[in-house]
Subunit: 203 residues, 2 copies
DNA sequence: GTTTGTATTAGACCGGTCGTCTAGAAACGA
DNA sequence: TCGTTTCTAGACGACCGGTCTAATACAAAC
């Protein structure tokens, strides 16, 4: 069957709607604590439709993560392409954005790697692999940016660019968990200080 | 009714048993994904007994975390009191132990701060506060150790001891999440390198 | 040995879980 | 127009969730 444009649009809209709603809810409550019912009721989609678009809750989780990282990486790419800035400045603006998005007051942070990482990695192999793909994408881009930063002279590091990228990502991941636990953004300030130290930027 | 010693022992044993079993299972599957049934069946305690020892699943979670951190902090204290070692060596041995305990092959890591932090912080206020108390205990001890390390000359830092302690804890927390996601201990090697760099230890 | 009172347990309870399934509506091609 | 496929609708089943009440087990007191 060939669908016309309208149908195609509507169909992907429903799917997208379930995905977006699920992302919002699960970013707050986690994976296991949320039932399909809640997502579907909120999205205004009947239960019967769900299994047309997704094979299972597990498969839905995988799609959710892929969908999330796709947008995330696109935004990150844009961030690291900002004109009239040094690579170091671009990187710092990425972490500033992290601070804003992950702060607890606006619906308790939106980063799915932070929220679902530890919970889901031991629970579902497919979701674990989606998480792995996504975080690899982030770290690879950071590594490339750090490499470029050493080239344009705006930062300097000890050891390889990739190792530093991993380390910095770990640092911010952990900081995000601590922000959730403490309900203060102070961990982010600490992480930013350490980040500048590692990249040898002016304090 | 006055209980004799035997009864008292048995009672606390049952409680301890539920706690220990719950810790083992939840360290693997998380909080929401585990039902009381599973814990109680594994522990060999009848379902009806649960509410004699704990007020609710939430209260159980709080007790679980308190119980866990109590042991954790005692072990940490011991670690940081090892004789014939510099403070820097004691700290490094703590993180080496972290690597061992949190590596994925032995029942997927045992650190509850890692496993439950992000999941539970937005779910239950009492559990969040237990997590906050516990992690504060860890960071305070690390800060004190770092302070002592600068005094005995075995390490040196930039900025305050407490800030460095927070940063290092964040780093290792994030590294543990990445270990879960990637099923490699490589993040720990990276974290160790960065740790040595921050504390100005020989590579 | 019976009574008393508490520590502990068994199991019912209701609501929610994921996932299935049947029917029908809607959108297309011929 | 019809026939076919895509999508929607929501009842349904089997099961599991946390919670609570009513009954038991059992030590102490008399």
């Amino acid at each position: 069957m060939l669908m016309n444009t309208e149908t195609t649009l509507k169909t992907t809209d429903v799917r997208e709607n379930i995905l977006a709603t699920g992302q919002r809810i699960m970013a707050g409550k986690g994976f296991s604590a949320v039932g399909l019912n809640e997502i579907l009721a909120t999205a205004g989609v009947p239960k019967g439709s769900f299994y047309h678009y997704f094979g299972s809750k597990d498969a839905f989780g995988e799609a959710l993560l892929d969908h999330y990282f796709e947008h995330y990486l696109a935004e990150l790419d844009e961030m690291l392409r900002q004109p009239n800035k040094t690579m170091a400045e671009r990187l710092i603006s990425y972490w500033q954005k992290w601070e804003e998005n992950q702060s607890f007051f606006d619906c308790q942070g939106k980063c799915l790697a932070v929220k679902l990482g530890a919970e889901v990695a031991d629970l579902s192999e497919t979701m674990r692999l989606a998480l792995k793909r996504g975080t690899k994408g982030i770290i690879d881009r950071l590594a490339q940016a750090i490499e470029a930063g050493t080239a344009d002279g705006s930062l300097s590091i000890k050891g390889s660019a990739h190792d530093n990228a991993e380390s910095l990502y770990q640092l911010w991941l952990g900081a995000s968990v601590m922000v959730k636990i403490g309900r203060t953004t102070h961990p982010f300030e600490i992480a930013m200080k350490t980040t500048r130290q590692i990249l040898h930027l002016s304090a």
